[in-house]
């Protein structure tokens, strides 16, 4: 059984059809990169998988570990191991970063029938993961993403992922806007999660991140569906020749 099975997925926001019939299979242990030009539907795919209310699925199916993912609330998806790293993490003033992280971890543990972690064990875990990501520990006691720099927000997403240890991580343009140090730290966090039991889907515009996190498969998304798939060499070709090259090749 594959971990994620997307069949002919169609979705719109408002009156705009964005995903037009997308098919993708992701197996445990794999890292997939989904690349494509702006407006091709990359972020829509990520948000539909996480269950964002603004997107309406008009056709197709998504199965995760054999279960119908589209029928679930966002929180149910999270609790059974689906994680979305946001392109634009939301700033929530007044909600403590550590408090949210602990609540999220315990929500997942409850679902799995595990005991909740106490404050002491949680802080130990969070600090350990922050060290791995080279993150300022003070960020733990700030409001969620409140006043964080772009790089800090993305690291915070990876921190949440590292603490929650999802089985399927979808990272939406986690590399955009990062300087080289932050990019390395984020890549380190992602690589630390690579595991035969997990799968990672990297949604990205550039191939830069793929120098640090080597994908098993690369897909090109254009016009709401995957128009070409290949191995990591496809990413290098795209970098060199641009997205028009693959679109022309497909149309020819």
């Amino acid at each position: 059984m594959s971990m994620l099975e997307i069949r002919d997925l169609k979705a719109r926001i408002g009156d705009t059809e964005i995903l037009t019939g997308l098919t993708l299979t992701v197996n445990s242990g794999e890292v997939h990169a989904i690349m494509g030009p702006n407006g091709s539907g990359k972020s829509t795919l990520a948000l539909v998988l996480a269950g964002h209310q603004d997107y309406v699925v008009t056709g197709g199916s998504v199965h995760y570990m054999g279960q119908d993912l589209l029928g679930m609330d966002p929180e149910e998806r999270a609790r059974i191991g689906v994680f979305l790293g946001f392109q634009y993490p939301v700033e929530i003033a007044g909600v403590n970063n550590a408090y949210l992280l602990k609540a999220a971890l315990n929500a997942k543990r409850r679902t799995q029938g595990e005991p909740e972690v106490d404050a002491f064990d949680f802080l130990k875990l969070a600090r350990e993961k922050m060290k791995l990501l080279d993150m300022d520990q003070a960020l733990l006691n700030r409001g969620v993403n409140e006043g964080f720099s772009g790089g800090e927000k993305k690291r915070n997403e990876i921190l949440q992922m590292a603490v929650l240890e999802p089985r399927l991580a979808i990272l939406d343009e986690t590399d955009s806007g990062l300087d080289i140090d932050a990019l390395r730290a984020v890549a380190k966090g992602v690589n630390s999660l690579r595991d035969p039991e997990r799968a990672i889907v990297l949604v990205t515009h550039y191939q830069r991140l793929l120098d640090y996190v080597e994908p098993d498969y690369v897909h090109v998304l254009s016009g709401g569906s995957i128009i070409r798939s290949g191995d990591k060499s496809l990413a290098l070709q795209l970098e060199e020749k641009g997205y028009d090259w693959v679109r022309e090749a497909v149309n020819a």
Binding site: A50, A78, V95, A103, A107, L164
Partner: protein, 436 residues
């Protein structure tokens, strides 16, 4: 008889029924003047959104049936239990005013115990503090039927070891009741003090409390004041706080409205001397069919002086709230810095808030700003929290609490903080759980 009217004969009878003391002539005069206007109605601009009709009906009923009865000198058992419990939750020097009568036992305890410079007296303790009359009908009504008053003075250069707590509590256990309470707080030059004014009411019968608090700050005085209104959800309250600020004074005031069926608060700050610094914070949480109205007014008569104000409200179900914040910068009050903000979170499409920050500026060299917002929970923030595994209700609670936390964090009087947080959490449990 129109509902705003009062039966003058009954009112006079009730006034006559009160014990004779130095307040007697004041009561008579206030009753006569009150009889001319009656209660305010929604025809008055300041009362446009708040109808006192049920409180008026209750007042007339009380005048007809209960008014001549003697008030208990000692608080009832339930009141004493409540007071003891509150004292465990908030560390303060507590004074109990039950059904408008000062509990002299709680006073006696205090005068012996507190730092030198602290003094608190009631009418029984031969207070001669003259309560302010003003021209507000509800303030006249307060004096007309005022049985007792509490007069607190903090001596020059004094500072107390912990806050002074005023528990204004009413017991409507045996019958529908109307109560008038009055506190006069005088803070002498360069004294510093913290106050907690806690409003509570108990009992299954209807109740209407009409409360006036006067704060008089002498030059250089600094006061932190928090008012917590946590009345029974079926009870009514009209409250007015009047503050007169001397030169170089600081007043930080926070108002938390959590309970009550019909609540109207007026906070009126008079800056007639330069150097005053005023911060006002407010938070109102309303659910069901609660009605909470906050009117604030800051008169900047001279400069330089600063006033900043932020009130926030969270409303659910069919709750209705009113915010009217007025800052008047009088002619010649140059160097005034006045800021106002009011933010509201509506958790239901049937909840309603009427917000009106008002600035009237008659001076030239001033800095003024005001703003008001009414909104719902941020959908993207909700989704973000849910995508981390929190269910909808927990996510909503977390965001709602965060909205309220801003005011709690700014609020003065540390000793009251954790109890306020607990009360807010308890209320949010109800508010977030109500139908959207």
């Amino acid at each position: 008889m129109s509902v705003s009217a009062i039966d003058t004969e009954l009112l006079e009878r009730a006034v006559r029924g009160l014990p004779g003391d130095f307040l007697t002539p004041l009561r008579k005069e206030a009753a006569a003047r009150f009889a001319e206007t009656g209660f305010p109605t929604t025809r008055h601009e300041d009362w446009r959104y708040t109808s006192l009709a049920p409180a008026i009906e209750l007042s007339n009923l009380w005048l007809r049936e209960s008014a001549p009865a003697e008030a208990d000198a000692r608080p009832s058992e339930v009141v004493r239990i409540f007071a003891a419990d509150l004292a465990r939750k908030i560390d303060a020097h507590w004074i109990v005013v039950a059904n408008g009568v000062v509990d002299n036992e709680s006073l006696a305890r205090l005068n012996d115990q507190v730092l030198p410079g602290f003094r608190a007296v009631s009418v029984a303790g031969h207070s001669t503090a003259r309560p302010m009359t003003g021209d507000e009908p509800m303030t006249r009504f307060n004096i007309a039927l005022l049985r007792d008053l509490l007069h607190i003075t903090i001596g020059a250069e004094c500072s107390l070891d912990k806050p002074v707590g005023l528990l204004l509590i009413d017991d409507a256990d045996s019958a529908a009741t109307l109560s008038q309470a009055r506190a006069i707080v005088e803070v002498a030059p360069n004294a510093r003090a913290e106050f907690i004014e806690y409003h509570a009411s108990l009992g299954a019968n209807s109740h209407f409390a009409n409360v006036v608090t006067e704060l008089r700050l002498a030059p250089g005085a600094a006061v932190d004041y928090v008012r917590i209104q946590n009345r029974d959800s079926a009870h009514y309250q009209v409250g007015r706080t009047i503050a007169e600020l001397g030169r170089d004074t600081t007043l930080r005031h926070a108002a938390f409205d959590l309970g009550g069926a019909l609540v109207r608060n007026d906070l009126s700050i008079d800056i007639a001397h330069p150097g005053a610094c005023v911060e006002l914070y407010g938070l109102y949480l309303a659910s069901g069919r609660q009605h909470i109205d906050n009117h604030t007014r800051v008169d900047h008569r001279v400069g330089p002086a600063t006033s900043s104000e932020e009130y926030r409200g969270i409303l659910s179900d069919r709750a209705r709230c009113v915010f009217n914040g007025k800052a008047i910068v009088h002619k010649g009050a140059d160097g005034t810095d006045a800021r106002q903000a009011n933010h509201n979170l509506l958790l239901s499409s049937r909840a309603e808030v009427d917000t009106k920050p008002e600035l009237e500026i008659y001076a030239d060299d001033v800095k003024c700003s005001h703003g008001a917002t009414v909104g719902q929970l941020d959908k993207n923030a909700l989704f973000y929290l849910r995508s981390r595994g929190l269910d909808r209700e927990d996510a909503a609670k977390m965001l709602t609490r965060a909205f309220a936390a801003t005011i709690v964090a700014l609020s003065p009087v540390r000793n009251a903080q954790s109890h306020i947080e607990a009360l807010i959490d308890e209320r949010l449990q109800v508010i977030v759980g109500e139908p959207a």
